[in-house]
Point group: C2
Chain length 321, copies 2
């Protein structure tokens, strides 16, 4: 009589259903999910984690499909995690993206998952990072994290990556302005997708101009032209990603970056939990509701109310850890 | 012998230097700043607060300059608060923006202030909202909040506004895509600035198409064409803003929106303080540092570490409130 394998054991063995189950648990904020991550965490840290960010519509999903295909041709296993902060109202559009990855759905060496933001941005970022750890523990060699936009929440998620790729296309005028103004962080690699567009080279020159104003040390940020729908330039991109990983290792920077990422992750989880608890206390704590009424009536100022709410939260934290 | 006026009294009297001093105090997280807001808070809630957001380079500062001029011509006092999250590296570009507002610097009826993000995004948003309250208490009738980008931190700041204006220009392709994908929240008013550009009408049609897919109830979002540098369309914009305020009041929605904004503000202040305390504990708490070393060594998982750090924070909160 053999003992049944635990979820953690099955996940570590690379069982796809165990991984799917595990991610659902962390997504649902189920204590079993956190327990699972705790169990498998010592087996993480082996995967190459690449984050893809950029405005919607530039073709990130198509690019990820092409990269996945290439990695599989090289016999490497792949995990793809798409963070989708769009409103439920437009979900149809994003389902289309997932369909572009559908040729990989039946491949046991590929695991694809989307996570949607249902209002709790802190909670989403937190769950996404846990999901990436589970993919790592399950033996995926390359993990692609995809987020839309350039806000702080997306940055938190991307913070988990070793290499950050910004994907643009001809017409990404706002992103170019944001890079120029220093509002958007400079990534490790920039992709100009849909490079069959006549304005591609103008755009590449513009990006090169912006990069030339930045600090010129260490890693030289490559600008890669791709036409993901036809697989053009994707091999070049994968080589640049590998080169960046080699660069990080050679400089001893990979360990440093991962240390920084893990620190950010711990802070993000703690802050996210605290924020969700505060929001929950608005609903179920009569004293907190009374305080807010005082604020609305302009009798108690917001900062004083915040201070009192934090104290109540601390008491609850210690009473029920 | 007359008693000297307090800072709060001078601020309530509309003294410009008292307002400047007060904002510096909240920006520096000085306890006197929080005390000041507490004192004058009962005198807030009279101003019309309008938030302006949009990618860099679309001409928001020029637009604010033109709106300020128009408000002054109507004998209304104005406060302008620009949140500038750009890197120190590119600050030159944004100084230029402030110069565009400089013709108003000597007008006692106008108060202009920039706040820069020095890494603590939570802290910045918190200080910005307090600064807006101080402007309100000092008697400014119109308060314009300006932020760059569409990330969560900017949204937190904009959350303080009664009316939210999204400023775009022909070429704002990424923002159009973000609106279309539902990643960017739909504002109350959309401006297409630099409307002398030949592609303006194409852009207006595109925006109209996106809006037509959304819910069709209550306020109909106007698309206003402006050429702020020549003052074109600015009067129309100001009328649309006034119409939105009227709409909110007529529907009883203004009180509701302000209640929601104040709740968000209390949560943002509490969460921001907690986050900053957590970050500080990384530096000065040896036990927290030890925990992070365990995480980096893959012996303690991030969520378990976060839990323990939250407990320590709660203990500190109660020990030293």
């Amino acid at each position: 009589m053999s003992a049944e394998k635990t979820l953690a054991q099955r996940l570590l063995d690379g069982d796809k259903r165990a991984l799917a189950r595990g991610i659902s648990l962390v997504e649902d904020d189920d204590p079993d999910g956190w327990k699972l991550v705790r169990e498998v965490y010592p087996r993480t840290g082996e995967a190459m984690v690449v984050g893809f960010t950029g405005p919607p519509g530039v073709g990130k999903s198509t690019l990820l499909g092409a990269l996945t295909k290439l990695e599989r041709a090289r016999d490497r296993t792949v995990g793809v995690l798409s963070i989708d902060p769009s409103s439920p109202f437009t979900h149809g559009a994003l389902l289309g993206d997932r369909i572009r990855l559908s040729e990989h759905f039946l491949d046991p060496g590929v695991f694809i998952r989307s996570m949607a933001n249902r209002g709790a941005l802190g909670g989403l970022s937190e769950a996404a990072l846990q999901a990436a750890l589970l993919m790592d523990a399950s033996g995926k060699q390359a993990i692609f994290l995809e987020t839309v936009g350039v806000g702080q929440a997306e940055v938190d998620i991307i913070d988990h990556a070793d290499t950050v790729v910004l994907v643009l296309m001809p017409g990404s005028g706002d992103s170019i302005q944001a890079l120029k103004a220093g509002v958007m962080e400079i990534p490790d690699i920039i992709v100009v997708n849909k490079s069959d567009h006549p304005l591609t080279d103008t755009m590449v020159r513009e990006i090169r101009g912006i990069l030339s104003l930045g600090p010129q040390k260490g890693w030289r940020i490559p600008i890669v032209k791709t036409e993901a729908a036809r697989g053009q330039g994707v091999e070049d991109l994968l080589e640049r990603i590998a080169a960046h990983q080699e660069h990080l290792k050679a400089e001893g920077a990979l360990a440093e970056r991962r240390r920084r990422n893990l620190m950010n992750e711990v802070i993000a989880i703690a802050a996210g939990r605290m924020r969700r608890e505060l929001v929950a206390s608005l609903e179920d704590d009569a004293e907190v509701q009374r305080l807010l009424d005082e604020v609305v009536a302009r009798r108690t100022d917001p900062a004083s109310a915040a201070e009192q709410i934090l104290e109540r939260a601390a008491e609850r934290q210690l009473a029920d850890p």
